[in-house]
Amino acid sequence: MVAAEQVWAALDEIPDPEIPVISVVDLGVIRSVDVREGHVRIEFTPTFLGCPALETMKAAMEAKVAALGAEPEVRVIADDSWSTDKITPAGREKLRQAGFAPPAPREASAPKLVQLQANVFRCPYCGSTETRLENIFGPTPCRSLRYCESCRQPFEQFKTI
């Protein structure tokens, strides 16, 4: 019989397809793992609904469960009960070390442009707060592009959801 802990450990081996330094568990996108008589139901929420890695992540989770000898059922939960605040502290540190500034905490209402321009965003390389917004959008929907005036390095800022 497969235990939930084994499933979590197996899922923790799946790297985020777009940011492979962090696992899908550290990314906090796994909502729940429910094991019942060889049937494993996983619920997850993509950072953004337009995430190009959604199908890849789903297939990787199914493969991990199947490798444990259980029958997978992976469900995508598309609601607002997930936020980037769910990224684990370890995950945030891994992101920072790889040059991705972790997301700012979620607030009651969605962020405004003025906040992205005026709030403090720290450079993941040198720690300076002298950074400016280059582009609200980046290589994937979940990232923005910023530039550090101190170390003159462009970097990617994880968006707050």
Binding site: G50, L113, I136
Partner: protein, 219 residues
């Protein structure tokens, strides 16, 4: 009595799919590299919203998201003419982005209170993501608002944006944009359920690959 939820979902999904498709046409030819990135990302995310809404609708209609996106005839789509227009200049493209995002915010805000919990949950998720599209639209609106070409484009597209929303939500759109609601005669031919010629042309291209293989093909 509210319309069946599949209908509300298809209106949203068709708008986002068709607009996302048109926005993606700017990839590689936008005026700056940063806008290439922005339009590609916005397009991808709009189509992601369409996929999520099609999936919910498909569960009710006993079909799947791809069939809803690609196997209907153009006249069966529930999108509004605003998103169907093939706009080939930047002033019009930005005018539509700004008008669409403002109208979409009014619609999505209303859907967050939908009696159906799944529709309301999806709307709340979409709203959080669209916040970034709105920032982009507002940034450009600030930059171009006094340019004559942009003002003319807004004036031309404004009735289309109004006609995208049901009547009861239109005053809210007028408040948010600071524009006056147009007379009913100006809305003719621009309402949801009516289509402009560009939709059929786009549909032909959008569904070409899928139609090239017999039904049941595995990709």
């Amino acid at each position: 009595m509210p319309a069946p939820r599949a209908e509300r979902l298809l209106e949203l999904a068709d708008d986002e799919l068709v607009l996302g498709w048109h926005e993606s046409e700017w990839t590689g030819i936008a005026p700056t590299l940063e806008e290439d990135v922005a339009f590609s990302s916005i397009a991808q995310n709009e189509i992601g919203h369409a996929r999520a809404a099609y999936e919910l609708a498909a569960a009710d209609l006993g079909t799947d998201a791809d069939a809803l996106a690609f196997d209907r005839r153009p006249e069966e789509y529930r999108c509004a003419p605003l998103v169907e227009l093939r706009l080939l200049d930047w002033a019009h493209t930005i005018a539509r982005r700004w008008l669409y995002e403002t109208a979409d915010e009014v619609r999505v805000t209303a859907l967050k209170d939908d009696p159906d919990a799944e529709v309301a949950g999806l709307a709340a998720k979409i709203d959080r993501e669209e916040a970034y599209h709105r920032m982009h639209a507002e940034m450009w609106h600030e930059r171009l608002r006094d340019e004559p070409r942009f003002r003319e484009a807004v004036e031309e597209l404004w009735p289309y944006a109004v006609a995208l929303l049901p009547e009861k939500l239109r005053p809210e759109l007028a408040t948010r944009t600071g524009l006056e609601l147009p007379s009913n005669s100006l809305l003719q031919g621009k309402g949801r359920g009516e289509h402009v010629a560009e939709l059929a042309e786009m549909w032909d291209e959008m569904t070409m690959v899928r139609r090239s293989a017999p039904a049941g093909a595995q990709w």
